[in-house]
């Protein structure tokens, strides 16, 4: 597991990360900008997404169409998204076209045209995307869970609201861009087949003279317990549950992640065994760790036909609470084996490595190596997991269901 992670901070505050993976033919980079949904004015929900969309409709020497054609010509796979705290732009391509690809990405971020005649089109696209979630109850369930659990500011969806999108003007986008697309708090991470020195020179050329305000602090994120039901004329009831856990930047994070692994990693995990394999209640059930700044949660999902929904919820919650009774050494051994394998396989993908590095830096201010991670995981014991569980018992529960009927939830007030 030889690994070298390069780190550098430009004088303007932008953080540059790089991990050479010379055995690959590809490179992939992620750029995180400190511009999230929590920066949106409360009457402009969806502005962060609209701004990102408008940035991709012409920039630098390129028109809207040129940007797409140029990236297709170079064979670049790309994606962009907005989260609570960040706007991100990711691209993957053959190593030989890194320079022209990054040049385009830099203009998207720094020199968008904001063409007036495309605002309506961008707005219509955003409204369609917002509307389409109505046909996706599982996604809608998590959108509602986030809103309920993290409140008006931190619980916002990147899709925004109909009113917010309808009110957004070109000036709003320009202002949002000017106020939040800044080097201080921005991260660029590159993984794959490249030379660090020449990459750094390229980043300095494209971003070195970028200036902007320093990063702003924001209020603490806290979870708000509660439950809600959305009536939907579907066969299945979708169940989303959340409870408190430690966040990614907490020293005991991997204890908590280990418990989530016992619940949900692999086909022998407890939720899969208890809810699906033994009882046949669902096709899909899962749990995952989630962090918003210092606020950690475990999120669970189960989907099942309405008459069996109450039993599914009860068994799921009971399975979570039964962690208290202990962890089998074999369970932990399997978990460690899965982690080890996935860390080795991470070396096969420049895309997953670059986004992981950017995420690590955003949360931890550093990039842990595989070796470090492996020794943290190896140090987990059944006792340490249980000790962690007793210290951080599931609390502050949230429940959102979408389906024909609401469910009873005893933990709603605890």
């Amino acid at each position: 597991m030889q690994q070298k992670v390069f780190e550098h901070r430009l004088p303007n505050g932008m953080v540059v990360l790089g991990e050479p993976m010379p055995w690959l033919e590809s490179v992939a980079f992620s750029i995180l900008l400190p511009a999230g949904t929590h920066h949106e004015p409360s009457n402009r929900l969806g502005l962060a997404g609209m701004t990102l969309e408008m940035c991709q409709r012409g920039s630098g020497p390129w028109s809207s169409r040129d940007v797409v054609e140029q990236l297709d010509f170079l064979g670049v796979e790309r994606s962009s998204s907005v989260t609570t705290f960040h706007t991100s732009l990711s691209m993957a391509a053959m190593a030989s076209v890194l320079e022209p690809t990054l040049e385009i990405a830099a203009t998207i971020i720094r020199e968008p045209h904001f063409p007036e005649d495309e605002l309506e089109e961008a707005r219509q696209s955003a409204l369609l995307e917002l509307a389409s979630i109505e046909d996706d109850p599982a996604q809608k369930c998590f959108k509602e869970l986030k809103r309920l659990r993290f409140g008006e500011v931190y619980g916002r969806s990147s899709l925004g609201s109909q009113e917010g999108l309808e009110e957004t003007t070109l000036d709003d986008c320009k202002k949002f861009h000017a106020s939040h697309y800044h080097p201080d708090g921005a991260i660029i991470s590159l993984a794959g087949n490249f030379q660090w020195d020449s990459f750094l020179k390229l980043v300095e050329r494209l971003f070195g003279d970028w200036t902007g305000k320093p990063k702003q602090a924001h209020a603490k994120v806290v979870s708000i317990p509660g439950s809600s039901h959305l009536k939907h004329d579907s066969q299945q009831t979708h169940i989303a549950i959340a409870y408190d856990a430690v966040s990614y930047n907490h020293p005991e994070y991997y204890q908590s992640r280990g418990l989530v692994g016992i619940l949900s990693d692999g086909m022998s995990s407890r939720l899969f065994s208890e809810v699906r394999e033994k009882r046949g209640l669902v096709y899909s059930v899962s749990a995952s760790s989630h962090s918003l700044d210092d606020c950690g949660s475990v999120l669970c999902y189960a989907g099942t036909t309405a008459p069996r929904a109450q039993e599914t919820l009860d068994v799921t919650v009971q399975t979570i609470l039964e962690l208290e009774k202990g962890i089998e050494p074999d369970e932990l051994k399997r978990l460690k084996s899965r982690v080890r394998t996935s860390l080795v396989m991470e070396q096969e993908s420049s895309s997953s490595r670059s986004s992981q590095m950017a995420y690590d830096w955003a949360y931890l201010g550093r990039v842990p190596t595989r070796k470090e991670l492996l020794s943290t995981i190896d140090a987990l014991t059944c006792e340490s997991l249980i000790e962690h569980y007793s210290k951080f018992r599931p609390k502050s529960w949230s429940l959102v269901t979408i389906g024909p009927e609401p469910l009873e939830f005893a933990n709603a007030v605890s």
Partner: protein, 406 residues
Amino acid sequence: MQFHNQVLDNGLEIIAEVNKEAFSQSLGYFVKTGSRDESPEMAGVSHFLEHMMFKGTPNRSAVDVNRELDDLGSQSNAYTSEEQTVYYMSVLPENQSAALALLTDMMRPALRDEDFQTERQVILEEIAMYDDQPPYGAMERAMEVYFRDHPLARRVLGTRETVAALDPESMRAYHEARYAPNNLTLVATGAVDFDALVQSVEKMTKHWKPSSSARSLRSPAIESENVAMVHPPATQQYTLQYSPGPGYCDEQRYVTRILASILGDDSGSRLFWELVDTGLAESAAVFTQEFEECGLICTFLACAPEQQEENWEAIRNTLASGKQNPITEREMELAKNKICAGMILGSERPSNRLFSVGNSWTFRRKYETIQAATKHYQAVKIEDVQEEFEKLSDRKQVTVSVGPEA
């Protein structure tokens, strides 16, 4: 990269693309059986069986199978389509023999009655899940209308009724006929020890008996038809159109795939610029589906119900504009670059490579390096794409639309 293949005495074929430098290896049993090989009353048995294969063998309980899969740190799964069922796992090279032993043992499942009853519930949940999701059964309906009495008309998951009526006995008979060694291919990619692989599989499958598990092939007889479905909870309108295209043994498919990319890729295509970039439709796409003796060119639209008519008209006009708006050299270049770069980027993981290598061999009996595979696209001539484009609207078409109202 080195390619190996060997056929065992019982007919089981083993192929591998070996890359000694890889960090991992992937193993998969590709079974040539799917919904098209079922009788109408047993619709869904291939997929149900796929689930049951994880439920234990005479040597292992269901719990043992799941635990061992996790013990090996594997990323494993399976899928069933109209034409194949595939079981695969990715592991570290040091786990080759244990992974192989488990996966091979799984190919001879116990199919216990009790597990069968529990798993039936899971399948019914899976059917309910897809019924609730867009496009709300429109794809299955389009296949039924397009293929009529052809075996490809059948639903991969079966229906609630056929799944409820299946019994373990007939599943056992189906397994015996379709999972014979001569109907299976073991595919391996990445850091594989091929000799060791062959040796252990030979030992483990010595007692497996070949069978005559043929597949009946015939061209579908297509009649143009429009179907309107109503799904009251839907908020958007979804329209899907199928017309005839090349199958996966037909060299013409490279031409059709490039044409589909130019007209209807999800970014940078003609429909993208006309309908998606402009915010008129959430999705407007053209893509292909390939089967053994035939194929489909598919057109898909998702948009607000009140805009469906106008958008669909725009799509029809675009697809019929071959003479007025011929394909340009620039479009050819962009489509080829996009397709080839996607193939190369995707090939870095042995787990992705497994499907390219496995499908190419089981469908076409051909092994190609990724470089050779991209050459087929690079070699396509603009005249051929243009010719295909001009003929596009003359084909028979089955159209299914689903939305909140009729």
